[in-house]
């Protein structure tokens, strides 16, 4: 065991001095000075694009800073690659997991780690150490499992094990909780406390205020690449932090009015479908969506949400069941026919499915309606009409852009989402499916998107909202449908405690269905 341990120095402190990092057209970090200590959880709080990840990539040797200095234990260092940072005892868990799915846990852990039996791998020696560490932290990871077989939470633990295996004393975690269920977040916080108690230093990157307040010893807020505040959880509160993140006070500009109607607009009956691997992704899914109702679909990523949206939108073949919109079955219709019958769809992959990114905003706005008499005469497009209408829509939906002629790809995520919203909502839909409408979108644009969704809900249009953000679900939903392994785990009111919804998301509790989709096998649970 000791044979394959390298001696890695222990990080007592890391200091960033006036670190500046530019990308073409973007100033990602603007003279940031920060210091980090061991045995502390130091939270970097900020919106998407605030420069948190870039700053940490600089600290981890992935990017060289354009200006400024990094000091470890008081002496300046120059990292040319992550390997250099690792030699100083700094490890990082990235937002996109850096694991190789077809390899085993062990193989992922020893990847590019010196083998005592070079040139051959020595998995036996590594296994012993990995099992010991896994037990110590209560991870319960099978070292021989293939990574693709593991849940997201388990994969994250493999990442952490890999860092610990390399004797890192300072660990950077980039948005680690974004992919976890509430229960997993709780466990994760436990792991963090354990690591800190063992003398590790932690940088915890997040944009979730509750988490920052719960776990941090110190909070640094970043906005537009600059440090805009440093505080501790005891000296601040949610509102103040939100204000610092956004740069102004955040007040909801929308309000749900009236209860949902009784008239059923969309009725999904016994729907089954497969995923891209050919495996069953939706299993006998049934629910009703009523007039003026937001039905939010909650679930851990990969439990059928994507397939549900795509089957209704007509992008995925169904194996069985019915999709009734206003009484008529959509199942046999193609995408165009579904659009014509009043379906609007905000897809999960906004850059690949939501817009044609090389197209101008004008072209993107009329993607669906370019063939209608309003915009075309015969085979020719009516350029003037199209421009006027698109420019108006861009204005109406508050798209921040230098011009309507720029390519969609040049806009930020939030603005692209507004372009999609403009296209989908200007067709006066009968039903809106919104898949992850605010993922990766800044708070301001998120607020706006929520306002628009609630607005059409108030006008009576039903909305099927698919989201992994429980805060979003609880604030917008009239009812919450929990999907687990392609099945409806239950439909509950949004007032249900978050912990309980979280439990249902992991299949822990089958809840009695509130509305007409009876599930006779499972009795109601009492609380």
């Amino acid at each position: 065991m000791s044979a394959i341990k390298k001696s890695v120095p222990s990080v007592q402190s890391i200091e960033l001095r006036s670190v500046t990092k530019r990308f073409p057209g973007v100033l990602a970090n603007d003279s940031v000075s920060l210091s980090f200590e061991s045995s502390r959880v130091h939270t970097l709080l900020g919106e998407n694009g605030a420069g948190k990840s870039t700053l940490m990539h600089v600290m981890y040797g992935m990017y060289a800073p354009d200006e400024g200095q990094i000091l470890v234990n008081g002496s300046p260092v120059h990292f040319r690659s992550p390997k250099d940072a690792a030699e100083y005892g700094i490890g990082m868990v990235h937002q996109h997991f850096m694991l190789v799915p077809s390899l085993s846990v062990l193989e992922n852990i020893v990847l590019n780690y010196p083998s005592p039996r070079w040139p051959f791998l020595d998995l036996a020696a590594a296994r012993e150490r990995v099992v010991a560490m896994s037990n110590e932290y209560g991870f319960g990871i099978d070292p021989d499992a293939k990574v693709w077989q593991l849940s997201v939470g388990e994969q994250q633990r493999v990442e952490i094990l890999r860092i610990l295996f390399r004797d890192a004393s300072y660990i950077i975690l980039d948005e680690p909780t974004a992919v976890l269920t509430p229960l997993e977040v709780k466990e994760f916080m436990g792991v963090l406390r354990r690591l800190v108690a063992d003398g590790h230093g932690i940088v915890f990157i997040t944009h979730k205020l509750n988490e920052a307040l719960e776990i941090s010893d110190k909070i640094t807020v970043l906005r537009s690449g600059k440090v805009v505040g440093e505080t501790t959880p005891c000296d601040t509160d949610k509102n103040q932090l939100a204000g610092l993140m956004v740069g102004r006070e955040v007040v909801p500009t929308w309000q749900k009015r009236g209860a949902a109607g009784e008239k059923v607009i969309l009725s999904v009956r016994n729907l089954s479908a497969r995923n891209n691997k050919g495996l069953r992704a939706l299993n006998d899914v049934s629910f009703d969506l009523k007039e003026g109702e937001v039905l939010a679909v909650a679930g851990v990523s990969g439990n059928g949400q994507k397939e549900l949206a795509e089957t209704i939108a007509g992008l995925r073949r169904i194996d069985g069941g019915e999709i009734l919109l206003g009484g008529s079955n959509l199942a046999g219709l193609d995408v165009k026919q579904r659009i014509d019958s009043g379906l609007a769809f905000i897809p999960e992959e906004r850059m690949t499915m939501g817009v044609v990114k090389e197209f101008s905003l004008i072209e993107n706005v009329i993607l669906k309606s370019h063939g209608t008499p309003e915009f075309a005469s015969g085979i020719f497009l009516r350029a003037k009409k199209i421009r006027d209408s698109a420019v108006q829509a861009i204005k109406d939906f508050d798209v921040r852009t230098p011009s309507a002629d720029v390519a969609a790809a040049t806009l930020s995520g939030g603005n692209i989402q507004k372009v999609i919203l403009a296209r989908e909502l200007s067709s006066r839909p009968k039903l809106l499916i919104a898949a992850q409408p605010t993922r990766g979108v800044d708070i301001g644009a998120s607020e706006y998107i929520h306002k628009r969704i609630v607005q059409i809900r108030n006008e009576g249009v039903p909305v099927l909202l698919i989201s992994e953000d429980l805060d979003e679900i609880i604030s917008l939903a009239d009812r919450v449908l929990v999907l687990y392994e392609g099945q409806v785990q239950g439909i509950v009111p949004p007032s249900t405690p978050v912990e309980e919804i979280g439990l249902m998301m992991t299949g822990g509790n089958t809840h009695y269905v509130v509305d007409g989709c009876e599930d006779s096998e499972t009795p109601p649970t009492t609380h």
Binding site: M62, P82, M92, V100, L111, N112, G278
Partner: protein, 313 residues
């Protein structure tokens, strides 16, 4: 009498099959390594042609077969560096640049052949090397252990490739680079270096495969386009093999047996145009490829995708 005759024919077929599998094994195992690292080297055919010509030319002029082989290795390394530069450094579209490498190899080998030799010459290639004791095993001895040394080398490369890919630190790096180069990069592995190494080794092996077509034959000769599509079949074979050395072995034998079979059919006149058996290996390639996409084996998912840090595809 006729039973004896049939047994002889079958034995001859098998022996020829093992011999003909050799270029598929060299080129296929090399291509597999390249693809495992995420680079589709479609220029294998062209590199084989260069290896075939260079080895024959040098061996013919110097009278030393080993010198010819060394020249093929150097030429293969050069072509590999060129391929890697275009695909890895310049991040060209690999399907298209590979066609370019093929045409380059086809043109260069033909051109230099005309400039230097002009007409078909022959020489003695590597002789058979019967392995003592093993050669006396009935059937197997004649089929497997009475070939030239390049055949044995190709067969040995199967377990060697397997061990390199699955049992060494280098193999683990190759697999990670071919599947998630971002993960490899984040751990300090140089994606560029690993891909260069794999493409160069793969190209050297393709060039050796080409050399086998000339100096690896009993009666060595170079003719224009001597590889006759074998390089492309080797690429197809890697998909058929699902990036596994044992699969490459199976595929190499499948195609070589068909090759041996069609050669025999051509000789014994059974009243069908000879073009039809000649087509056989290529038809089988198409059918096999069409069928082998079924099943859900994860290939190197970063195959043909150039690596750019921070850009997830």
């Amino acid at each position: 009498m006729s039973e004896f005759f049939q047994a002889t024919v079958l034995l001859g077929l098998l022996t020829a099959g093992v011999r003909l599998a050799t270029p598929f094994l060299f080129a296929g195992l090399g291509e597999m390594l390249s693809q495992r690292s995420g680079v589709l080297n479609l220029g294998v055919e062209g590199i084989m042609l260069i290896g075939a010509f260079v080895s024959f030319f040098v061996a013919f002029e110097s009278g030393n077969l080993y010198l010819g082989l060394l020249a093929a290795i150097l030429a293969g390394a050069f072509m590999g560096l060129l391929t890697a530069f275009v695909s890895v450094t310049m991040k060209a579209v690999q399907g298209i640049s590979g066609i370019g490498i093929h045409i380059l190899g086809l043109g260069l080998s033909g051109l230099f052949f005309r400039l230097t030799m002009g007409s078909i010459s022959t020489m003695r290639g590597f002789p058979r090397l019967a392995i003592p004791i093993l050669k006396d095993i009935p059937v197997l001895g004649r089929v497997l252990f009475n070939q030239n040394w390049m055949v044995y080398a190709a067969l040995l490369l199967v377990p060697i490739s397997w061990a390199v890919i699955y049992k060494t630190t280098f193999g683990l790096k190759v697999r990670s680079v071919g599947e998630n180069p971002h993960a490899a990069d984040s751990l300090g592995i140089s994606v560029t270096r690993v891909r260069y190494i794999c493409v160069v080794i793969g190209s050297i092996m393709a060039s050796i495969a080409g050399a086998f077509l000339t100096i690896g034959q009993h009666e060595a000769a170079f003719v224009n386009n001597i590889a006759a599509g074998r390089g492309f079949i080797a690429v197809a074979l890697v998909y058929f093999a699902k990036w596994n050395p044992l699969g490459v072995l199976a595929g190499a034998f499948l195609f070589s047996m068909i090759d041996a079979f069609q050669l025999r059919i051509q000789i014994i006149d059974i009243g069908i145009p000879y073009e039809i058996p000649v087509m056989l290996p290529y038809i089988v390639t198409i059918v096999v490829l069409a069928l082998s996409t079924r099943g859900r084996v994860l290939g190197p998912t970063a195959l043909t995708k150039p690596f750019v840090r921070g850009v997830h595809t």
